[in-house]
Symmetry: C3
Subunit: 130 residues, 3 copies
Amino acid sequence: MNSKKYITKGDGLPNWENPISHAVVANNMCFVSGQLSVNSEGKYVCETALKEGELAFKNFFSVIENAGFKKEDIVFIDIAFDNLENLPEINQLYSSLFLVDKRPARTIYEVQKLPFGAKIKIAGTAVKDL
Amino acid sequence: MNSKKYITKGDGLPNWENPISHAVVANNMCFVSGQLSVNSEGKYVCETALKEGELAFKNFFSVIENAGFKKEDIVFIDIAFDNLENLPEINQLYSSLFLVDKRPARTIYEVQKLPFGAKIKIAGTAVKDL
Amino acid sequence: MNSKKYITKGDGLPNWENPISHAVVANNMCFVSGQLSVNSEGKYVCETALKEGELAFKNFFSVIENAGFKKEDIVFIDIAFDNLENLPEINQLYSSLFLVDKRPARTIYEVQKLPFGAKIKIAGTAVKDL
């Protein structure tokens, strides 16, 4: 028996052609694919790092919600930048997204290139309390 | 009591000198080390991105199997490219590996360099349903 | 009810200004933020890759311990290098940190840039046996 849940389409989710799920739910965990600044048609929206971050996080939260998880369930966030000089504004955005005493663990780094030449990519994990 | 399982040697697993396990099983989860285009003697096989991807996935699946997990248990895949221009052919390979409605979540990015100068590295997580 | 544990301050933990937790504990899992060569005041300590690795691992282990986990619980380690040529000395350090038959799974890669211009970043996951 396979009771996993594969999140591919749903309210506010980018409709894209990639051979992946936006997220997979296994037991009480949710594994979220790297989210980008992509609109509901799956088209990349090239913008400032801050605005790309806002859209990527919006998509990330939509995925989580469609998977039946809440923002408070997010335990880990992996952010790849195309330029780490954009960290201060992403940190400011980040501070507004999570409660001070309930912030996810995080890892950040600058890569050579992201899909579409995007400025930021956000992947992560959510866990429901048993 | 530590009941974790450390996968180091086994059928079809690259025999290498790195101070790591190919995978660690904890409870119903399997954490898989970054797999490369490496043969059974642990030697890097420099090839086209597609062929490197095929061998890296073959190793990935061997690890999963040796750990007592199935392909359907894979929930998340992390692919690092040395050149994202190879994404279309990797996506084609990828499509052939997973059922349309049971695709893992995924994150992809281009890094500066991979071990051996490899073209692709595949890490990931598998979870058995409770 | 949210029973997650957010590790932000504690014995030997770098005191930093980032809007993140050093680790989040959910059920029997611990998700650890990317640790760097940073001292207890949160200042980056620029050193050889080996010494940066030692301090980053010291911080990593402090986080794990403050979260109520042990070194033996670590199942996966993600190491980003600013230069993969430093791998041999990090492997030597690594060999001294983990028992031969209980080594975590691992993924390594060279990125374009790390926060502070650091030479190594170590993130990971620990799981307690149920």
